[in-house]
Symmetry: D2
């Protein structure tokens, strides 16, 4: 059995951000996952202090800030998949969600401490809900962030609803359901696979690789540059003569 965590970045648990998250988790449950919802508003999560810039290895689990993230880190670590659901505040995730994301750095930066992001290989889905535009922009930033941290994104693992604060659209609910289903299916498929998702090449391997690629690049340049060069030169000559004519 896999574990899926739902992160609610809204200040309510009766709004549409929560509704879509809950719908996604139904999809996850149907695929056999054990689920849990975290309402971030109920936890004391201080903003990241950016220790990295002062001392790179000071940013590490369990973070030097002593607050509720300590409990949340452990929940994140136990989860196989995480679904992030955020209200759209000014075309991006809420400040509450942003602080939570920023603080996950302590797990990601374990790559500096011991060569491996502690978030590597987990599966993520992203939901955004708002009454104006900005859904895709909110999701985009989160998605590249999560992939950089080591998360994997299944097909269609994003859902959004933009409109009145009443009732989400049928389509957005269907999307949320499939998001949860897909996160859950992928956690099952990859469970116990023990995959290493970042392999640091030795200097020797790297140089062999660079040499091989470099040879091809050189051949390509030899072939293409003659044409390009003549186009540029012809243009530059024309430019100079046009300048002298003035």
């Amino acid at each position: 059995m896999t574990k899926i965590l739902g992160i609610n970045g809204a200040s309510r648990s009766y709004g549409l951000t929560y509704t879509l998250l809950r719908t996604a988790l139904k999809g996850a449950e149907e695929e056999g996952a054990e689920i849990e919802i975290i309402n971030l508003i109920e936890y004391d999560i201080k903003p990241c202090m950016g220790c990295l810039c002062d001392q790179q290895d000071a940013c590490r689990y369990p973070c030097l800030i002593e607050d509720d993230m300590r409990k949340l880190y452990d929940k994140v670590l136990e989860a196989d998949g995480i679904i992030f659901s955020t209200p759209i505040y000014w075309f991006s995730p809420s400040g509450i969600m942003k602080n939570f994301i920023d603080r996950l750095t302590a797990l990601e930066n374990m790559i500096v401490i011991e060569g491996r992001s502690w978030l590597e290989g987990k599966i993520a889905g992203i939901i955004a809900v708002g009454n104006d535009q900005g859904a895709v922009q909110a999701i985009s930033t989160l998605m590249t962030t999560l992939v950089s941290m080591g998360f994997m994104i299944p097909p269609f693992a994003m859902a959004y609803y933009v409109g009145e604060c009443r009732e989400p659209s049928y389509d957005s609910l269907m999307d949320a359901y499939n998001l949860g289903r897909n996160v859950s299916m992928l956690t099952k498929l990859l469970k116990d696979k023990k995959i290493i998702w970042y392999r640091t090449l030795s200097r020797r391997e790297m140089e062999a690789l660079m040499h091989e690629v470099g040879e091809e690049i050189k051949r390509n340049r030899d072939r293409e540059w003659i044409v390009r060069k003549s186009i540029i030169e012809r243009f530059m000559t024309k430019m100079k003569s046009s300048v002298s004519l003035k």
Copy 2:
């Protein structure tokens, strides 16, 4: 004399986020502005509660949350220009800056209460600093947010530095200086101009406008649609026959 506020979204006032902000403010001062720096970390700024969704006119100055934003709202209202400087945390502004931005909604939403955003016509510049990528993405989200709130963006009013946490590049400092200079110049140029930047058309005016535009659209459609239609029809016919052939 105009007033320019510098908003520091970093947790430090000795890092590069602050350095670039301070450099920008030097540029602003040279153009005659009175300046002030706000280190957000020194203020208690709670996350936005999103009251809008429950009751639209409950989101208004001075916000129902009783914290240090009350002081900051007044500083924002007095300023002619504001320079936002944020560290880049995961390709976007810090959680501290995000909470500040989210809370500015209480000034912007005065458009619902009394027909005018209280931020309308102010001039803004944006700075982002980080040790990995994401500068433009962080700035982009802030820029559309500020323009939606009623701010104006002068030429080149964005500056960024991405790299080691030591010394900003010469280029980024020059950009920051010009950012501050341009924000300051534009505040001077527009000071006391009393411009109304959002004019709500009456239904009658609107209908006249829509009619006029509608007429042209109809003419354009008449001209273009025949060609398009025939291309689409030819394709759809081919599709159907290819299906029946299978």
Copy 3:
């Protein structure tokens, strides 16, 4: 054996966009993939005509525009994984790459024609290279696009280099290598799995789901709304009295 396609969105095949792409494909090959590079510049790819807006089912394979995309569609359909490598032009993918992406709509929109995106379940990685910032913004837009089309994104499947047009950094090459390796590993893991990544719930199932979620939302609202309401009411009363005092 799986097939990985490398899409080069640069106008050169001797620049860094190509170099990082080639490096990624080396990683893919080491994990057993058969690889092929497409230099988009060598193909005639016209811009998308947006037929969707005139007639929704007119946007379908093989697209009514008769150009080289017809060859490319077939290559895309045969591939298990695709690595998109683009130069960063103004904080986003090149126009060449953009036209290619826009034209993929004819495969994605098969979801309207026959209930399934023809890109569903393919694995993608994204590379961006430029001499100024914007890497993450370029990648972000592509990533949400690909996930919406049905692609899956493995951990760390993004790589970028921003800097001089000479030599990519060691780090960016390592990232590109791992990107290719991860795309390849995931294609192998999921090959022949025949997963359906979008399940359309029947109206009955959907209503059961909505009912269940709706019940919980109602309970949550009952619990939370009393507190919220009293806070809002207290604030609104204060506002009114402060107005009357003026």
Copy 4:
């Protein structure tokens, strides 16, 4: 009298992208501007070749590619304000619009040739229209691009409509009208002002500036670093002892 150019990035001139653009231009005309619409689809605009990377000063007006951009460059140069209207294709501008934007680099890069972007000081507004989400993301990327090129963005100078391809919303038309009006008002206000928006400081000025800022940074660090350092050290000590306990 000022001149405002409307750039239509759609393949139609009877769709909503055109409708909102036309509405914006009505607003511009009412403020006294002379207006003109360019339907990009009617011009032959080849993709940017990225010469910059081979030879930096080869990217210059009138661009070495001999196509219709030569006419369009001159129209752009004559304009005081430009309104960009694009359909939203995959959360970003259409390929047609993207190619046009990429090719504007030949005007912007005049900063390398003669110290000044030829787009400096022009006023811009941005419109995006689509049937799914992505409006803000499309606008965001364009906005930072334009500001980097030297454009200025007036308050509320963005408008979007997302929905059915039939009729734009009343709100989006009102926004478009105001966008055009504001672009026009700002061109009038700044016409003939001859402002230099980028001042390159001499090395000496720059060093004086850096010295001054540097002194303050040093004082701030002295004050703050003691506290931070002790927090980090306490944490690191705890980490080490916890490691040794294992």
